[in-house]
């Protein structure tokens, strides 16, 4: 068992700059706010996932929180649920502790898992550098493949002023079996607080 697990982990070569579109992504297994483990692909009905590296404390992540909730409401029933992951080191950012994560998810009614990436291995492997950053993955057989990564839309300050909705457009394309037009978009965010 341990040997098989080692094989699975070592078969993913750590990409220097994280995943590129088309890459097969690492299947993580992380602790959720209800203390249960959640693995990518655990939900057999999921066609893919909207993986969001986010946190409690970053004002940009906070500005996008409502939009993250909306994405889950719209796309979970269509087979693309949200999985939120916090990778910030709680020593450097006490507001992002596991206890604080539970608090925030409860008070803001997260309808999706909010996982703690305690070793920061998942964020590093995926190549997430700031919050919030989305990795949209689609199921291909037993694997999940990156279809889009980056910002949720093109205006973090004002949701109503955004006119390019990167994540929505990408999922709509996947659902319609069309190619994703914009496969990555950069945005200003809070650097992930890596362990020192």
């Amino acid at each position: 068992m341990a040997g098989a697990l080692f094989f699975v982990l070592s078969s993913f070569i750590l990409p220097a700059d994280g995943y590129k579109v088309g890459d097969k992504v690492m299947v993580f297994n992380l602790k959720n706010i209800d203390n249960k483990m959640v693995a990518l692909g655990q939900d057999a009905s999921a066609k893919g996932y909207i993986i969001v590296f986010t946190c409690n404390t970053c004002p940009v992540a906070q500005a996008y929180e409502e939009r993250m909730l909306d994405l889950n409401k719209t796309y979970a029933p269509k087979g693309f649920p949200v999985i939120a992951i916090n990778a910030n080191d709680e020593k450097r950012s006490p507001g992002d502790s596991f206890a604080q994560m539970k608090e925030r998810a409860k008070s803001n009614n997260y309808g999706f898992p909010y996982l703690l990436d305690e070793t920061q291995e998942v964020a590093k492997t995926y190549g997430a550098k700031s919050t919030p950053t989305v990795y949209l993955v689609k199921r291909e057989g037993n694997d999940f493949v990156l279809a889009y990564h980056g910002a949720i839309d093109n205006n973090s300050n004002d949701a109503s002023a955004a006119n390019v909705h990167y994540v929505k457009q990408a999922i709509d394309a996947l659902l319609a079996n069309k190619p994703v037009e914009i496969t990555s978009a950069k945005a200003i965010g809070c650097g992930i607080k890596w362990k020192m």
Partner: protein, 166 residues
Amino acid sequence: MLKKNKKVRLFLLGFFLCSAYWVSAQNVQAIKYPALERLIKSSNNTVLVVNFWATWCKPCVEELPHFEKLNTKYANKNVKVVLINLDAAADLNTKVKPFVAKNNIKSSTYLLDEPDYNTWIDLVSADWSGSLPFTLIVGADNKTRKIFEEPLNETQLESALKPFLN
């Protein structure tokens, strides 16, 4: 009558204190990307240290004093620090200007009003993912460039600058 006089005096005192406060602080302007590009490209014979920050970014706020110190220490060595603020334009008068005044920031500071980030981040540097803080050093030749997508302490900042000095 006496009461009224006191009020007037208090008002005047307040007025003068406030105006002194504003006069000493630099007037932060909102700019668009082309202005930033001109600023970076027209640095004739000057080493530019461009730091991207926001009042809401804690590690950015913590490293600002190092940039201020650098700006003073190397002013006579043709080094110029420029601070590019990325708060929302709506917060210019309510957050950014008061912050700059309160911390007595002397390095030239601009608010970059470009909320569609994906249109310009790659133009600053293709290797910048967009996380803050971010520092770009442009050599006096206007060609040599180095980027740092991480917070810098005083020692790190000085050693980052060193190769650009001659």
